[in-house]
């Protein structure tokens, strides 16, 4: 049992932190938001830092690092509320490709991801599913050795600019059956693919994506499709947890600083006990969140059922922490907290987006409830 970061991990953290603080300040971020929410330039800079290949196997030009390194990077990107979909491409889609892609598929995509020249993202959200992953209406059929996909996916990260999508689609069964879901790769340029891009609440980029008889490459068959999807979602949630910890850490620091600076009734408002206790409660939520972010990351390698339960436990804590720290940061700032020109609100909006993604708090509490064992605890 050891919660120290290695020297290499600390160096990685420093490199990302330095880039964020030097190259990704509030002003640049604001400009990226204005120009659509995704910057190829910033993406290129992150690639130059070597981040894109972090989780790509060495055989494909990456570094083959594990979840802890991913967590370190995500914390720092979260600290800077970086808009670019690093987790979506370099952790989530990469994990899916590496686990389920054929040698051919891997060679075609992983090196390009590692060098930052390809954007591949998971496209799974469906309109009537909400947070239920097995609810897949999108259908795939095979004819003459060619799979084709029909359906629509929502809120796909950089969906109007991605090169390819990983698409869960149903080959058999009713819409909400666990069986019968397969995983496909569909290129954006393929026939019948249409996208409609927009900004998200935190300023990042997403799109609606629809498929009409679009040719697709099978990655995981109906026996594995749901598991593949769940595994990718768990990678995404663990990454989100770390991202949220970074964002909360920074927002909390901003808030503490404000409390020590802002004066009312002739004294810094940080001297008022009611606000001080709020600070203590925020610190509590932050440290509980950090603890559960570690937990999520360190449990990613567990067997399916244990991993799913641990990830849901983590998302419950993170969801509660994000909401509390976010809301209270705004409250403690007072008026300036609700303005667009001040930075705190942007952290708050980002944290809200994270809470709503990949299953909200109540959803994951339900997952924990359903997976309850007689024993409990980290090692249960």
């Amino acid at each position: 049992m050891d919660f120290d970061f290695s020297d290499d991990q600390e160096q990685l953290r420093d490199a990302v932190k330095k880039w964020v603080s030097k190259a990704y300040d509030f002003e640049r971020r604001r400009n990226i938001v204005k120009s659509g929410g995704f910057s190829r330039d910033a993406w290129g800079e992150m690639a130059e830092l070597g981040l894109m290949g972090l989780a790509v196997p060495e055989a494909h030009g990456g570094m083959g690092f594990g979840p802890v390194e991913a967590m370190v990077v995500m914390e720092e990107l979260g600290r800077g509320i970086v808009l670019e979909p690093y987790a979506a491409v370099s952790l989530v889609a990469t994990s899916g490709l590496a686990a389920y892609g054929s040698a051919e598929v891997q060679s075609a995509w992983l090196p390009r991801i590692a060098e930052g020249s390809a954007l591949v993202v998971l496209a799974h959200q469906e309109r009537e599913a909400r947070h239920v992953l097995r609810h897949v209406k999108t259908r795939a059929t095979e004819s003459k050795g060619q799979w084709r996909v029909n359906g629509a996916k929502s809120v796909v990260p950089v969906g109007d600019q991605a090169d390819a999508f990983l698409v869960p689609a149903r080959v058999s069964g009713a819409d909400d059956e666990a069986q019968g879901i397969a995983l496909f790769l569909v290129e954006r340029g393929a026939a019948g693919v249409a996208t409609r891009g927009y900004a998200l609440q935190d300023g990042s980029r997403a799109a609606e994506v629809s498929f009409s008889d679009s040719p697709a490459t099978l990655l995981a068959g109906p026996a594995d499709g749901l598991k593949a999807l769940e595994a990718m979602v768990d990678v995404a949630i663990a990454a989100q947890c770390a991202q949220a910890v970074g964002a909360m850490d920074q927002l909390f620091a901003i808030t503490v600083d404000y409390l020590n600076t802002r004066k009312q009734f002739g004294v810094p408002i940080g001297t008022f006990q009611a606000l001080r206790h709020r600070v203590a409660d925020m610190k509590m939520q932050l440290e509980l969140a950090r603890s559960m972010s570690y937990y999520a990351t360190l449990k990613l390698g567990e067997p399916h059922e244990l991993r799913r339960r641990a990830i849901s436990q983590a998302k419950v804590q993170l969801g509660q922490s994000m909401r509390y720290v976010g809301q209270q940061s705004i409250q403690l700032h007072g008026g300036i907290g609700v303005t667009d020109e001040y930075i705190a609100g942007h952290y708050f909006k980002h944290l809200t987006c994270l809470e709503l993604s990949f299953g909200d708090t109540l959803h994951h509490l339900g997952e924990v409830s359903e997976r309850m064992q007689d024993t409990a605890g980290v090692f249960a």
């Binding site: 309109r127 599913a129 909400r130 097995r134 809120v155 819409d175 927009y198 409250q331 008026g335 109540l362």
Partner: protein, 398 residues
């Protein structure tokens, strides 16, 4: 003790209901029921319709041209407006400055200002807060120096809601710095077209232009625009605060929005089934429903006491706290109901009649923005921390 309204009250309600439903423009109601963006024209159209009926100043006594309703009647009017989907009456004129002018203004000021407020023609703004003064309102610094028959005003106000539309602004200004902060404040009515006034927008975190900074650079204000006595403005401001007691809880709007939440939870699906049938989410709505009923009962208790002319229950601070918490909660639950479909931010999708493709559904478009916007409710009008100070003070006696 009787929970039911009297026959007269019910008849009054029916009259108001009939009139409101007949006169509230449907395009405006559509926007309100769907939380779409309201324009200045929307707000002013409704104000003028009310004004023509003599109801824009619905809280006014008859002597000033108001309907002379009692507390319960006012509540019923507010409720009918809210449930019908009327926009909130912009309070700065009819609800805030008018009672101060009535109570402390001269007959000349009554004649000059009240008709324009009642008719909805003249748009008023509020100039209280300053950058340095938040919860500590009395620390305000905007100066008004008397020069002959004029005041020369210099300084800055902020958080001026809808000030971009303002014709007039009522301000607390400092006319004396010698004594305690509260003692040197005056209450001034200022024409916003006066030279030296600059209104600068503040964009809030939902991307909207709702509040403003107002700068005063040697603005000349005729001395006749002073309300009451010089240096007594703090008293008038407190009178104004005490005037609005129950509507502060906004329970009628909460009831309307709870209905909207239920509509959304029926329309949204989770795993293919209506979200409202998901026990976990449904229970959240049930808890909110209990909270709203309890708030409404608290409001009704106050109304009953006020109508009876008895000493009003001293629960205004409690109503502010609870009302704002409930506002935040229903916007939060609506956002959570839509889940991932609350994430897209499409500015135009919050306009009525937008022809684009909604992500998810029209009802999803404004949810997150409103959630973000509503964070203000526990901050403004005396933050909930200040309100808790007040409750504690009254309870503990020290």
């Amino acid at each position: 003790m009787d929970l039911n309204f009297t026959a007269e009250e019910l008849a009054f309600r029916d009259e108001v209901r009939t009139w409101v439903r007949a006169h509230l423009p449907q395009d405006i109601a559509h926007k309100v029921h769907n939380d779409l963006r309201l324009t200045k024209d929307d707000l002013q159209r409704w104000a003028r319709i009310l004004g023509k009926k003599g109801w824009h100043g619905y809280g006014w006594p008859k002597e000033f041209g108001g309907p002379g309703w009692n507390a319960v009647q006012k509540h019923l009017f507010e409720e009918e407006c809210a449930l019908a989907g009327a926009p909130r009456i912009v309070p700065f004129g009819p609800v805030m400055v008018a009672p101060v002018i009535m109570a402390f203004g001269t007959p000349e000021q009554h004649r000059r200002f009240l008709p324009g407020i009642m008719s909805g023609e003249v748009w008023w703004s509020q100039g209280y807060s300053e950058p340095g003064s938040g919860s500590d309102l009395a620390s305000l610094k905007t100066r008004a120096e008397r020069k002959g028959d004029k005041y020369i005003v210099n300084g800055q106000k902020t958080w001026t809601t809808l000030g971009q539309y303002g014709d007039w602004i009522f301000c607390l200004v400092r006319t004396d710095t010698s004594g305690k902060p509260q003692t040197g404040i005056s209450f001034l009515l200022i024409d916003m077209k006066s030279p030296g006034i600059t209104v600068r927008p503040i964009i809030t975190l939902d991307g909207e232009h709702e509040v403003n900074e107002v700068f005063f650079d040697n603005v000349e204000v005729p001395a006749e625009n002073l309300v009451g006595e010089e240096n007594k403005g703090w008293t008038y401001a407190k009178y104004l605060l005490a005037h609005e007691r129950t509507n502060i809880a906004d329970v009628n709007r909460a009831k309307r929005e709870l209905e909207r939440l239920k509509r959304i939870a029926k329309a949204e699906r989770s795993g293919g089934r209506p979200l409202i049938d998901d026990l976990r989410f449904r229970d959240q709505i049930a808890q909110l429903e209990v909270d709203i009923v309890a708030l409404e009962m608290m409001v009704l208790r106050v109304l009953s006491a006020e109508r009876g002319g008895k000493k009003a229950l001293d629960v205004a601070a409690l109503l502010k706290i609870r009302g704002s918490e409930i506002q935040q909660r229903y916007t939060e639950l609506m956002m959570l109901a839509a889940g991932p479909y609350a994430l897209p931010f499409i500015y135009e999708a919050m306009e009525a009649g937008w022809q684009g493709d909604y992500v998810g559904a029209m009802h999803c478009a404004p949810l997150a923005s409103t959630y973000f916007n509503m964070r203000k409710t526990t901050i403004y009008g005396g933050s909930n921390e200040v309100q808790r100070n007040i409750v504690a003070q009254m309870t503990l006696g020290v």
